[in-house]
Amino acid sequence: MLVNIAEDFSKVPAGRYHPKDGNRTGERFRNEFLEKLLRANDDKITVNLDGAVGYPSSFLEEAFGGLVRVGFPYETLKARLQITTTEPRKKRYVDQIWQYIQDAKDTALA
């Protein structure tokens, strides 16, 4: 399953919590796409970052780090979630997303 954030959700993702921070938030993306697809079956999910004007850290942390907080184990995410981009300038977000997932895991364990 492939999700392109810019095409399927918003070209300008922003904010953390839904609905108080707006309609393009990390929480909404997580609820309506990531969680939904992860719970639907055991397929791998590819999230493509191409096309957006940029990703604020608060959005990425809530969308991806939040997956650990709502109960998805780190190992499951590592096995089923793939983050991709064809834009060289967006490659840094891939590391950032995995760092947020790792940090959320470490916080949950602490």
């Binding site: 922003a14 904010g15 940029g54 604020p56 850290s57 608060s58 300038r89 590391d95 950032q96």
Partner: protein, 159 residues
């Protein structure tokens, strides 16, 4: 008479060949010189653009984190995100995609964006926070210094 003619022809030939050799040799050196100038200018332009973008990020961030979340600062928040997204394009071009350099810069940029656009960034209940400005300054300077150092270490632009 024939001997004089032979000598004249010899001198002519030597002069002609010397001139030809000079003309042939001059072309690639002049081409190389132009190429070096072009690359040097291009590097300087890219470095200047990187610095300009970082200065703009600094100004916007100071304004953004000096007040509580409000409509006036929403545009600044959006600009910060867009500028931080564009920045790697400039340093990837400057360092011609050298992965060792650009990976280090990505890590530093991620630290910077994590501070500026993380936490309560774009949250309705965000409060002004001067500690973000201090942290931003530290990471922004670290990134700027690294870019300038790496640029200074680039090999002479022969090729």
């Amino acid at each position: 008479m024939l001997e004089t003619l032979g000598e004249g022809l010899g001198i002519f030939l030597i002069a002609f060949l010397g001139g030809l050799a000079g003309a042939v040799a001059k072309h690639p050196f002049s081409f190389l010189g132009k190429r070096v100038d072009h690359k040097t200018t291009s590097r300087e332009t890219l470095e200047r653009l990187v610095v300009e973008v970082l200065e703009e990020v600094r100004t916007l961030s100071v304004g953004y984190w000096s007040v509580d979340e409000c409509d006036n600062q929403k545009a600044a928040g959006a600009r910060i995100v867009a500028l931080c997204d564009i920045l790697p394009e400039l340093y990837i071009e400057l360092f011609e995609g050298d992965l060792t350099i650009t990976r280090d810069l990505d890590i530093k940029l991620n630290r910077l964006t994590n501070v500026i656009t993380g936490g309560t960034f774009q949250q309705a209940d965000r409060k002004k926070d001067h500690s973000v400005i201090s942290e931003m300054e530290r990471h922004l300077m670290s990134l700027m210094v690294e870019i300038r150092l790496q640029k200074a270490r680039l090999p002479y632009p022969w090729l």
